[in-house]
């Protein structure tokens, strides 16, 4: 069969071509370029104010909490799901963690608490977040209620539960050691908040790209019935995915505690939308089956750079949401165009 051998070899050639093509057409590249251009523009306009280590550090720190939420959101949206509850779960988990740490401290004041109490607080926060996520996952995958409705319910319920626990006011005693170490700590100029967020993002990218869990995530978002037919435990996977998002929201809540020194109950009502926007700007399709963690990371920084840049060049901050919305709608439109082009092939 010389004919087939011949074609087989030409197959090998197209492989390399298509790899380059794939990289180039990957929207990650384009959104990455947009981010670089934005950064360059602001840097040129105000090199003195924008191009400083301090600005760069605060940019990263302020994005760290959202980044952690966004990693989880990427997984969920790739399964063609959604999680509107992340901000409320963050608050709920933070309240649980803060109250556990207060409860373990003499006089209910956790300010002087040591490493042991902080470690228990971390576990409690992550576990509280994971528990909400687990509940979301069970309602979505087992009871088959649409994710939009389930997590909209959790969005309200988790915040309500947090307020019930605290009587409506914020928990204000957070271990000073936690704030020093995680909230403001740095190693070689890199804030610990940023290191933690980077570790979460790298782990998320690894999980999604190179493991069976990640592959199943794409498969389920692409065609859940096909996934079921090859024996993938779709229900179990979805439950695990929502629990993972919840656990990450818990971790984000702990980071928020460390940074702000309070539970910031009223400060996270738009986290869900910010995370979804970041994921979508980063090229993840709301229809499922497509997306990368790297894209989402870039998607976090485009709004963040816009906010910082507008402040620095003196544009009214009210322009920021408008600019982000334009980027968001453009990203979804691009996704639609791509899908249409693909389907009509």
């Amino acid at each position: 069969m010389s004919q087939s051998t011949l074609d087989y070899e030409s197959t090998v050639n197209t492989e390399q071509q298509s790899l380059g093509k794939r990289l180039f057409s990957a929207n990650t590249l384009w959104t990455g370029l947009v981010l670089l251009v934005l950064y360059a523009v602001f840097s040129i306009m105000r090199p003195d104010a924008f191009l400083t280590l301090f600005t760069f550090q605060t940019l990263l720190i302020e994005a760290a909490v959202l980044l952690v939420l966004t990693v989880g959101m990427t997984f969920v949206i790739i399964t063609s799901g959604i999680d509107l509850s992340v901000g409320s779960v963050l608050v709920f988990a933070g309240v649980v963690g803060a109250q556990v740490m207060e409860g373990m401290s003499p006089g209910g004041d956790a300010t002087g608490a040591g490493a042991g109490v902080i470690a228990v607080g971390l576990l409690a926060t992550v576990a509280a977040g994971a528990a909400w996520g687990l509940l979301n996952g069970l309602l979505i995958a087992k009871a088959k209620i649409p994710p939009l409705i389930v997590t909209l319910g959790s969005f309200g319920a988790a915040l309500g539960a947090a307020q019930l626990l605290t009587g409506g006011s914020d928990v204000r005693t957070v271990p000073a050691q936690l704030r020093d170490w995680l909230g403001f700590g740095q190693t070689a100029g890199v804030p610990h908040m940023v290191i933690l967020a980077a570790v979460v993002a790298l782990h998320g990218a690894w999980l999604l790209r190179t493991t069976r869990f990640g592959r199943n995530n794409y498969a389920i978002g692409s065609n859940a019935e096909a996934a079921r037919r090859v024996g993938i435990n779709v229900t179990g996977h979805l439950v695990a995915t929502y629990a993972y998002v919840g656990a990450l929201a818990g971790l984000a809540g702990f980071m928020s505690l460390a940074y702000f020194g309070t539970t910031t109950i009223s400060g996270h009502s738009t986290d869900n939308l910010n995370a979804i926007a970041a994921v979508v700007i980063g090229g993840t399709s709301l229809f499922g089956g497509v997306g990368t963690v790297l894209g989402s990371v870039i998607g976090v920084f485009i709004p963040a750079v816009l906010t910082k840049g507008f402040v620095v060049i003196g544009v009214q901050p009210y322009w920021q949401p408008i600019a982000v919305s334009i980027v968001l709608v453009a990203a979804v439109w691009l996704d639609q165009v791509r899908r249409r082009a693909r389907n009509s092939r």
Partner: protein, 257 residues
């Protein structure tokens, strides 16, 4: 005649009030192509999905290699070496050809996927099947033609050490040349000792490759006859009326009351 590799005895299946399969007996022998024919809605796809572990059966027995087995999930079926090419193509559009072929059974290296190894194996299978229409094994399945998708689905079934391959209307959407390729492939699988079940509405295809014809009529097995002992007219009658001469389901007036 060789021992059956797969045997169904008295299988019943209902979807709620709809009784789709009635006491179905069905035999698949290694090295043979068994054509499963029947009108639209006769229950062919349902029968395949019951064998594949997608639908649980209500009653009846499944024997594999003469041993009673229970197939409760697609994984059980795969473990026995039963592979299915579904009528409604079960591929993930956003994944590429390699990913689809290995979906659910990825090769691992430690914790992570062995992408290079899987790509190599997929290429080899496609080359062995002399599949020449697919440019790159890393193309996403969404951009393939119907025939190419069908080829991938079949290649996926042969990639594994399968012993029984069930193909649900694999040529329905194909052009002349690709139908030819698939039929050759079907024959080759049987010649390699696999038990092959081919569902088709095309009598030419059936009479060309099948050794046995099994006709379903309204969820009942009307007849299982060697292709050599029957004619097209007879098979068409079995499909449309459930009986033909002394073959098939007894006519109502002669049935026991």
């Amino acid at each position: 005649m060789s021992q059956p590799i797969l045997e169904l005895r008295g299988v019943n299946k209902s979807f709620g009030p709809v009784h789709v399969l009635h006491d179905v007996d069905f035999t698949v022998r290694p090295g043979e192509v068994t054509a499963l024919v029947g009108d639209n809605g006769a229950g062919k796809s349902t029968l395949v999905k019951c064998i594949a572990g997608i639908h649980p059966t209500d009653s009846g027995e499944l024997l594999f290699d003469g041993e009673p087995v229970t197939v409760g999930s697609p994984r059980d079926a795969a473990a026995l070496g039963i592979e299915v090419v579904y009528q409604d193509l079960a591929l993930c559009d956003n994944l590429d050809i390699v990913d689809n072929m290995f979906l659910g059974r990825e090769r691992l290296r430690g914790l992570t996927l062995d992408d290079a190894g899987m790509e190599e194996a997929a290429r080899k299978v496609l080359a062995d099947l002399s599949v020449r229409t697919v440019k790159s094994v890393r193309t996403s399945v969404a951009s393939l033609s119907g025939g190419q998708r069908q080829t991938v689905a079949i290649a996926k079934a042969v990639l594994w050490d399968s012993r029984v391959v069930l193909l649900d209307e694999p040529t329905a959407a194909l052009g002349v040349a690709q139908t030819r390729q698939v039929l050759d492939l079907v024959r080759r699988l049987a010649d390699n000792g696999l038990g092959v079940v081919l569902i088709s509405h095309n009598m030419n295809d059936v009479f060309e490759v099948a050794d046995t014809v099994a006709a379903l009529y309204l969820g009942r097995m009307a007849a299982e006859v060697p292709t050599a002992d029957t004619s097209r007219a007879q098979v068409v009658e079995l499909i449309t009326a459930g009986r033909s001469g002394d073959l098939g389901i007894p006519a109502p007036e002669t049935a026991t009351v």
